[in-house]
Symmetry: C2
Subunit: 362 residues, 2 copies
Amino acid sequence: MPHANHYVIIMAGGIGSRFWPMSRSNFPKQFHDILGRGQSLIQETYNRFATFIPESNIYVVTNESYGQLVQQQLPNLSQDQILLEPVGRNTAPCIAYACYKIKKINPDAVMVVAPADHLIAFEDIFRQNIITGLEACKKENIIMTLGIRPTRPDTGYGYIQYLDPQSHKPFYKVKTFTEKPNLEVAKSFLASGDFVWNSGIFLFSVNTIGSSFNEFLPDMAELFDQLTDKYYSTEEQQSVNAAYITCRNVSIDYGIMEKAKNVFVIPSDFGWSDLGTWGSVYENSEKDEHGNAAHVYKLLSYKSGNNVVAATNNQKVVVIRGLEDFIVVDTENALLICPKKDEQAIREIVADLKNDFGEAYV
Amino acid sequence: MPHANHYVIIMAGGIGSRFWPMSRSNFPKQFHDILGRGQSLIQETYNRFATFIPESNIYVVTNESYGQLVQQQLPNLSQDQILLEPVGRNTAPCIAYACYKIKKINPDAVMVVAPADHLIAFEDIFRQNIITGLEACKKENIIMTLGIRPTRPDTGYGYIQYLDPQSHKPFYKVKTFTEKPNLEVAKSFLASGDFVWNSGIFLFSVNTIGSSFNEFLPDMAELFDQLTDKYYSTEEQQSVNAAYITCRNVSIDYGIMEKAKNVFVIPSDFGWSDLGTWGSVYENSEKDEHGNAAHVYKLLSYKSGNNVVAATNNQKVVVIRGLEDFIVVDTENALLICPKKDEQAIREIVADLKNDFGEAYV
């Protein structure tokens, strides 16, 4: 039974430039069905929550230019549930806006904040973790995070270290948040047994997070608190746009999580991936007998292996020969062929394209 | 001044499967502007001849399914100048059909037979060679061929050996036609100085070639001679279709050239390429500073060199990284990525696609 005080904030403002050329500034990755599962990433995220959170309590924060896309892909959302940022200012303002808005109509709200583009394999475990977290945040003045038990010394994620790992508890007090480590450090994290990956999924009551904003980001707290009169009114957008102009760019991790003393973590194993790069698409795809992950109508592979191949045209045949460990992504007006190991270069490629052509190809 | 007895037969029946995916069975390579020069290959060939051969004397032989394409691309041709084969039977029937047809209206015709898809860099030299050949064929009962002085021991061409190479003559008596040699043999050909590449361009009078058909391919001579009443009539197509059913598959090289004693060759250097493969497109293209040949709107190349990259969409941006010596060809519904050294595998790929999808992608 969905609980009327339970809310979700889906953060969907990213551009996903590491997913170029499929992800474009006017159609970013969260709106694509990158893995060919029948729904876009944001639709999967929405539907995952809609099984146990009232649909009227699901909010999406995105860039104003994606408002129509959100409306098209999630037609059950009312305009009030789609929060439009005139400009991206990282996660802290995004969360502040949503929390102060929701607080206006429900000061007893407890909420989960989650990115739009995560893969979750085991939804039952995920749901149970979320409910555990929401119930805890209802009872206590704490901030909860979901931590993913690491399966490899990944250098692409932040890590969370927690206290008292030998005990058996549903959640643990957080000792430290860490930045992305180098490989050696990541290996030591893995060996120590008290580190989990930071999933970027947080839970708290509006009261608790409001107190944290007051304590650690008082300027931001004031900025969005003073708009309380405007929320759910015809003046909301204009007021929010004005607020964003003066708002600093701060992540919730840096602004609050790393400083607050009341942060807890649920270490979990719900088959999580943040689907951040084409390499992660490769990891999360079925492979053919040569280890190729094909998201095209038909891939013909000769003397080729371990590639990830995708196309937006669902009639496209791709033939590769003598290609190993590559990313091949084809769209109507752009084609990328790049080694998987160089996937970090895609951002640089996008920057070069922007220099050459403006917005036409990015 | 164009000479009323001078004719051209452009052979344009090929499918060009080594140019897949750009060349398709319903739009083969001779109708593409593969090098981006502003005209298709058949248009270039036509226009090259039209500077010195009367346009009413230029005939095209092609498959019936390409009749409309020829008409569209060469609108000056009348229906009588477009000869449609119901099925390909190699070059001998194609030439017999054209010769017996032209003989009906001009028994004094002398003609050049040329493929539709050759590149000629130096048109003045080419034109001079053709005129020399036509004049010689008018005076004597000989078959003339154009031979290309080899610049490398190419194993992709047939060779022609000629007599008396130390003399200085406009043309030489042919000693032998050879098949494509292996590399060692090709090297010895190059060293010997009396071998030239077989360009597949032939010249003769209708009388001379008629005698040769009578002598070496009498069944074919009879087949097309007996249709003389039908040429230039409404019954032509139906009669030709019936003739092709019983007609053997024979090349003019094997059927006549290798056997006739009256074959001569003009060794020449008019910058010839048969543009048979993507490798030859590479050779005939301008390269960027990394040796990439780009036939796309824009190629962004990182740590890549010596590739040939083409796309049918003239707005397409292609980004390659870590790619050396590859063929990359993109069309609306098919993409090929294949090492240049494996270009001969493209025929096998096309056969596999035909097995999988029928005609949809070939």
